[in-house]
Amino acid sequence: MNGRAELSADQEQRLLECHAALTRLADECEVPAVLTAVRMAATELQVAVEGQGLD
């Protein structure tokens, strides 16, 4: 953790891809344990995406 760091362009791209992948999985998956975990993870990443002004 480094409070002086900023996200690189490559990291931005990967963050968006991860978010998109999780959202797709959440749309398809029906296993309660997995669906819940994936939805929460997608929500966390969405907030990170918004926090970087990428939404």
Binding site: M1, G3, R4, L7, T43, E44, Q46, E50, G51
Partner: protein, 443 residues
């Protein structure tokens, strides 16, 4: 008034550097982008907002000019249409994962809110911005001393500490002695509570023979939730040997919205990526300039479930420009944080008096433990009656103490109060919300 400390550029650290240091022009564009999306959502999905928001708002200025102010009574009325949330929500409330409500003081019904998973993660992330900015780091241990009930209070701090990787001690439902013991036994570095409760902990520690500045390890105190005078901040800081930070939020907004950074003594940055804050003259409702007192009006940019547009908070504030703080954040700030609530202000014989003004004088008297401010009509005149609880040291000359208190209040505020005495330990203690005036006046 705030004072400043310049921080060396290589020491500046942020939870989210991009959001906290973006140029003002970019920030204005960011706010407008978020606001436009929030307006769209509200118009489409909330009955209350669809009837209230124009559909063709073109800019931030246009928004401010055309969207009416939202009063607390309107929120309550909208919720009453179909309790608990009425016509307000922009999503199906069954998607909520948390419920909170205000305390419903002064005879009002409470304001009720819920958070979706997104709202809660967002709100906790905002808390992380605040905590990280105050110097909290993952290796720290935190203790949150509040009631963990319906009131949102420090819930977000608890989850923020947890999210960041700190070890959190949830000290709800414990008495003050147990909390003091936890602080010492675990050598807790971070404490969250109201300023009045921090004073209470110091008092309890003293009774236990514990000197928290020596025996404890608290370094950062997040003392929010109520306006406080500088003298109280100083007393807490000295008692714990810790830096005391201010912050504030509302149930309506859903999380914390302003905080004191390490280089800003006595001020609070507005978290401008999460909220738009206007400051308006209480009577003309026109914006006031930097440096002038007014009422803060807030627009939330993050919550999706219960949205907030131009909410009249009734909080008195004085805004200052961002560049006057040396921390590198490009967020404007409020000098002294929230100075008081307009509805807590009372006119006594032509003088405007707030609870914080009284507290500022009383905290200067070590012999005074607790006190209560009563407004009473005495022989047809509005009178301030201070009910004072002397500390149980014995041998105090009460009459002399009363005279000194009375003279000090007259000197600082301009009104000479009557002084009464209460037995030690009999006056009410407050865990949340500053003690307000106890108004016994007729009419």
């Amino acid at each position: 008034m705030a004072s400043f400390e310049r921080v060396r550029p290589d020491e500046l650290e942020y939870w989210n550097r991009r959001a906290e240091t973006m140029p003002r022009q970019d920030l204005a564009e960011w706010q407008w982008r978020k606001l436009r999306r929030a307006l769209e959502r509200a118009r489409k999905q909330s009955k209350f907002w669809s009837e209230r928001l124009p559909d063709d708002i073109r800019s931030l200025d246009d928004y401010v000019a055309r969207v009416p102010l939202l009063r607390k009574s309107e929120i309550i009325a909208a919720e009453q249409e179909a309790p608990p949330y009425g016509t307000l929500p922009s999503v199906d409330p069954s998607l909520g994962i948390r419920y909170h409500q205000t305390s419903g003081t002064s005879g009002d019904l409470p304001v009720r809110t819920f958070d979706t998973p997104h709202d809660w993660v967002w709100g906790v992330d905002v808390w992380c911005t605040v905590l990280y900015g105050m110097g909290v780091r993952p290796q720290h241990k935190g203790l949150v001393a509040f009631g963990y009930g319906l009131f949102i209070g420090f819930w977000g701090m608890h989850y923020g500490l947890e999210r960041m990787g700190c070890t959190v001690v949830p000290a709800g439902g414990l008495d003050s002695r147990t909390r003091v013991k936890l602080l010492v036994d675990h050598q807790i570095e971070v404490l969250g509570c109201t300023p009045s409760y921090a004073m209470r902990l110091l008092e309890t520690a003293k009774e236990m023979g514990v000197d928290l500045a020596v025996d404890g390890n608290v370094q950062i105190i997040m003392a929010g939730g109520e306006p406080r005078p500088e003298s109280t901040t100083r007393a807490i800081s000295e008692g714990f040997g810790a830096r005391v930070f201010n912050a504030a939020g509302t149930t309506e907004f859903g999380t914390v919205s302003m905080f004191e950074c390490p280089s800003l003594h006595g001020g609070c940055h507005i978290i401008e990526t999460a909220i738009i804050e206007e400051v308006l003259h209480p009577d003309t409702l026109r914006p006031v300039d930097y440096g002038e007192e007014g009422i803060r009006v807030t627009t939330g940019l993050g919550r999706e479930g219960i949205q907030l547009f131009r909410h009249w908070t009734d909080d008195l504030v004085v805004k200052r420009p961002w560049h006057e703080c040396g921390c590198g954040r490009t967020w404007d700030w409020y000098d002294g944080g929230i100075l008081g609530r307009r509805d807590d202000m009372r006119k006594i014989r032509g003088v405007s008096v707030t609870p914080v003004m009284i507290e500022d004088v009383l905290r200067g008297f070590d012999e005074v433990g607790e006190y209560q401010t009563v407004l009473r009509t005495v022989r047809g005149l509005d009178t301030i009656v201070l009910r004072i609880e002397p500390k149980a040291d014995g041998g105090l000359d009460l009459a002399a103490l009363g005279e000194r208190v009375s003279t000090a209040v007259k000197r600082e505020i301009g009104i000479r109060p009557d002084v009464e005495y209460a037995e030690p330990g009999t006056l009410p203690r407050f865990e949340v919300k500053a003690a307000r005036f106890h108004d016994e006046r007729s009419g």
